[in-house]
């Protein structure tokens, strides 16, 4: 009798780990994977104002790619993504290297560079919208200094609005890139650097030829994280330009929201969400694969 009870206890004991992770895992299975399948299904369906489960094949995608609004949004994503990633990394790396030169109040400066990461894109957008206000903002300030032709009406200019987004996003994220690279710089092997400088290499050369090339993985991480941020960008656009003028600065995430919740085009909205997912996966999967393969050797 006692041994039967004991056996049951042992079995229960073995089940506990699985029981503990079951609720969370099942939730993710349903709310992530189940929902992706659900959205994918909707993206092939007739859904307009309400979900409609009649399949119509690729027609929503055809419609999507014919819409000028979507093409503008996707082109904007490429412009925004490339500019945002490149500028954030250039500024981040520059600041990390400079901060690495025995700066006395490094901690304070780092705190200043990084605080935008603690606030939301809605607040960043609100603040920059005010700064870029054409009649009361920075433009007027600079003109009052005597530079009469200075123009900074980016948020009301069709061709420049997307760069206003880049500016605010870079402001928000370059401190983060700085932090990534600074922590990587701190873990570089000192002996290699000493050897190189004994050989007469200049500081600049040591950074350009030895240190930065050894940081390929950090560059990779930075690119992937920033690309991910760019693809998901939604609130910054809402707060800063609201996609305008017209829809000239709209991004795919805003397109998706607009179609799904405002324009009764659920099918097209779902199709655009699937394209966004595929874009993220095209970037993430090779990265995760190389990361996981690398860490298995450790």
């Amino acid at each position: 009798m006692a041994s039967v009870a004991g056996k049951i206890a042992v079995r229960l004991e073995r089940l506990i780990p699985k029981l503990v992770i079951a609720p969370g895992f099942l939730a993710i299975l349903l709310f992530v994977y189940g929902f992706i399948i659900w959205t994918a299904y909707i993206s092939f369906s007739k859904s307009k104002m309400l979900p409609n489960y009649t399949l119509i094949g690729l027609r929503p995608y055809e419609r999507l790619f014919q819409m000028d609004r979507w093409n503008v949004a996707f082109t904007n994503l490429i412009i925004f993504g490339v500019a945002f990633i490149a500028i954030s990394i250039i500024i981040g790396v520059l600041l990390a290297i400079l901060l690495d030169q025995r700066i006395r109040i490094e901690g304070a400066i780092r705190t200043i560079y990084l605080y935008p990461m603690a606030i939301s894109f809605v607040i960043t957008g609100t603040a920059w919208k005010w700064i870029m206000n054409p009649s009361l903002g920075l433009e007027t300030v600079v003109r009052s200094w005597g530079w009469e032709s200075f123009s900074f009406g980016w948020i009301v200019d069709q061709n420049m609005a997307v760069y206003a987004l880049v500016m605010a996003a870079v402001w928000q994220s370059s401190g983060f890139v700085m932090a990534l690279f600074l922590s990587a710089l701190r873990s570089v092997d000192q002996d290699i650097i000493k050897a190189a400088s004994l050989d007469g290499a200049s500081t600049a050369k040591i950074y350009l030829r030895i240190i930065l090339p050894s940081m390929r993985p950090v560059f990779m991480s930075a690119v992937v994280i920033l690309a991910h941020l760019a693809i998901k960008s939604f609130d910054l656009v809402v707060a800063l330009t609201n996609g305008g003028p017209g829809y000239s600065s709209t991004l795919p995430a805003n397109f998706m929201y607009e179609m799904t919740f405002r324009r009764n085009e659920i099918g097209v909205g779902a199709a655009s969400a699937i394209i966004m997912l595929l874009t993220v996966m095209a970037i993430m999967v090779p990265y995760l694969y190389s990361e996981l393969r690398g860490s298995k050797n450790v």
């Binding site: 895992f25 600041l95 932090a179």
Partner: protein, 295 residues
């Protein structure tokens, strides 16, 4: 790395110019990062005539907190002129339980996936991890429907559910990466002594977890407080979280545009996460870099 210039003697005037250049660039960027904060704070303290008549960069004539008060309890958000106060409470009511749930569940999941591995546990981890990278656009439509079915649309409970589930991927990653560094021998020894799953967790793992708990809580709080997409997709009117209310307040077009109130509202909205950042910045940065440097 920081003792580079000790190793090699350099021309001292050259070095002096170099230091000057480094400092000017660093300070220039300090100015660039601080300028929006300065503009927002100073605008929030000005009155409307000062804003229209004066320069964006000018200091306010006097410390005038009327705009703050107005943003807190009088400003119109849509047609409701209640100020941010009720929405602030919405966000608090949403963030606290969601942070608790996702952190506790993440700790247990991370613990199980590192110390109680079973067949398939690696696949489970990979599947959970992928949840960190999914663009939420791909789940919001089904989520909106599910919340409707569960009758949770437009409630704080709906948002708690959403944030708990989608935060779990990150908290699991944090705890998993932390617990993986703790030697398995410790757990094996405890098992031999007869300790079970929960005893080991509460007696051995939890006492050494405070640093990673702080990282996870700060990360989750910042994410949830700053979320806009879920709030705007799943709630309307009086049940919206603060971030959505701020956007509505700024874009309410009735009446005279009160820039000082907008800026005060932005500051009120930013205050909680900024406070956390100032108090516990070190842990905040660790959370930011945790998932990236070492996956």
């Amino acid at each position: 790395m920081s003792n580079l210039d000790i190793v090699r003697p350099e021309n001292s005037s050259f070095q002096w110019v170099g230091r000057l250049l480094i400092w000017s660039i660093l300070l220039l960027f300090c100015f660039w990062f601080l300028m929006p904060a300065y503009v927002v704070i100073s605008t929030s303290l000005k009155n409307l005539e000062e804003i229209r008549g004066g320069s964006l960069l000018a200091l306010p004539h006097e410390l005038n907190f009327t705009a703050w008060q107005h943003a807190w309890n009088q400003a119109c958000i849509g047609v409701q002129c209640t100020g941010l106060q009720p929405y602030f409470m919405n966000s608090v009511m949403m963030a606290i339980p969601a942070v608790l749930f996702s952190t506790i569940l993440g700790a247990l999941t991370g613990y199980t996936l590192t110390k109680w591995r079973f067949k398939g546990s690696n696949i489970i981890f990979a599947l959970i991890l992928f949840g960190c990278f999914v663009p939420f656009q791909v789940v919001i439509l089904p989520m909106a429907q599910t919340l409707g079915i569960l009758r949770l649309t437009n409630t704080v409970y709906g948002l708690i559910l959403v944030h708990s589930v989608y935060g779990l991927a990150f908290t699991t990653l944090f705890f998993r990466n932390y617990y993986v560094t703790i030697p398995d021998e410790l757990i094996r020894a405890a098992t031999i002594d007869g300790a079970g799953f929960f005893t080991i967790f509460f007696r051995i793992l939890l006492p050494i977890s405070p640093p990673i708990i702080v990282v996870a809580v700060i990360w989750q709080f910042t994410q949830i407080w700053n979320d806009f997409l879920f709030g705007v997709s799943f709630t309307t009117g009086g049940s919206q979280p603060l971030m959505v209310a701020l956007n509505n307040l700024v874009n309410t077009t009735t009446g005279v545009k009160q820039y000082n109130v907008d800026m005060a509202a932005a500051l009120i909205t930013a205050a909680p996460t900024l406070l956390v950042y100032i108090v516990a910045g070190r842990y905040f940065v660790r959370g930011l870099t945790a998932g990236s440097v070492k996956g």
